[in-house]
């Protein structure tokens, strides 16, 4: 089984390497991600929160969809219990797990094509039921695993292998969909703001209800290399050059994000191809599905 190039160890090692799955199996750390990919960062942040809070892995199973981020199971903590679900069906598996064992809180890793494309139906119904789980939506606006095809979240005017001329479809917005369907804690952040991710994740762990955290990550190999620096902000007058390193993409993400308090004063056209980050909704007062079902079980068992 090849995990990737195992390069010789150097002392001292990163403090969280031995906690990751690959680290505990092989003693050395290797990822299969490309060199500018944002999933390595997310894996590190997730492992940090898991180890620092000393979460019980039996109560937090991880359900991972199919996509480039499926390799993240090599760098999440070794003791967490992980399962790979089919493409787009992770919310349905989480529903079954949670209702069969109400003490658990599933954490779902999902991508933009996985959750908003093929799995859109299951995502909507998961938010509608307000089941107690966390959905981490990784948005790199492309289908990276299969070679760079266009996704429902690809920006207007971008180039991908299935839109070689220009992408002209309307972008779908995971945050608006989650709010309309009824999720109770919705937030968006990016890879360039890691400490906000840790803050939102800790809040979601305490919240009883469906939490949806969308994370904007860069994809250097397929989205960056084929698109210019000035995508999404033509009027800024930025010189157009291809984004072929992670650093340039982080720069681009930072330029194209707008905080939610600022966005209230901006018009629709100014927000056109931008990412709005912040917490959009927090409502701890809505009833949660498994608790309501427990009440029904009580009524049925007391009856005749």
């Amino acid at each position: 089984m090849s995990i990737g190039r195992m390069l010789p160890n150097e002392k001292p090692e990163h403090p969280y390497v031995l906690a990751s799955y690959a680290g505990s199996l092989f003693g050395n750390f290797a990822t299969r991600f490309c060199s500018g990919c944002g999933y390595g960062i997310i894996g590190q942040l997730y492992t940090r929160v898991f180890e620092d809070l000393k979460l019980d892995p039996k109560l937090y199973p991880t359900i991972i969809g199919i996509g480039c981020y499926s390799q993240i199971l090599l760098i999440v903590p070794a003791k967490s219990q992980k399962i790979l679900a089919l493409h787009g069906r992770a919310p349905a598996v989480a529903t079954g797990m949670k209702m069969a064992n109400p003490k658990m809180k599933p954490i779902i890793f999902s991508g933009d094509g996985d959750c908003l494309g093929i799995g859109g139906n299951h995502f909507i119904h998961l938010c509608r039921r307000n089941l107690d789980c966390i959905v981490l939506l990784f948005n790199n606006s492309i289908y990276a695993m299969t070679g760079g095809q266009g996704a429902p979240t690809t920006l207007y005017g971008a180039k991908s292998t299935t839109t070689p001329y220009k992408m002209f479809e309307n972008r779908s917005d995971g945050v608006k969909l989650a709010i309309a369907a009824g999720a109770t804690y919705v937030a968006r952040t990016t890879v360039a703001h890691p400490r906000t991710f840790i803050k939102y994740f800790k809040k979601a762990l305490k919240h009883k209800g469906t939490s949806v955290i969308e994370i904007v990550t860069p994809c250097v190999t397929y989205f960056g290399r084929k698109n210019l620096d000035s995508l999404g902000a033509e009027y800024l007058g930025v010189k157009g050059e291809k984004m072929d390193t992670g650093g340039k993409m982080i720069d681009w993400i930072k330029r194209n994000t707008v905080r939610i308090n600022q966005a209230k004063f901006m018009s629709e056209e100014e927000l056109f191809n931008k990412y709005v980050i912040g917490e959009f909704k927090y409502d701890p007062s809505k009833p949660e599905y498994s608790e309501e079902y427990a009440k029904i079980q009580k009524i049925a068992m007391e009856g005749k």
Binding site: H14, F29, T245
Partner: protein, 79 residues
Amino acid sequence: MFLNKNRCGGCEMCVNVCPTGILEIGDELNMRVAYIPRVKAGKEKYCTGCRRCEFACPEWCIYIIDESKLEENIEKAKT
């Protein structure tokens, strides 16, 4: 600040994220055939230990370590 030279992929994220701007891409090539970063000459003491490079590295290969906790004496040239 410690940089694991072998694993670095040359993505330049740490360079972009550093608030004091002391990192830059050097000319050295490592085993993965990528240009790895180095501290700009003469600016070592500007590192504030804010850990933004540590959180931004996708390969987990740059991180802040506490010098006084080390047993062996590693050369500071590793930064």
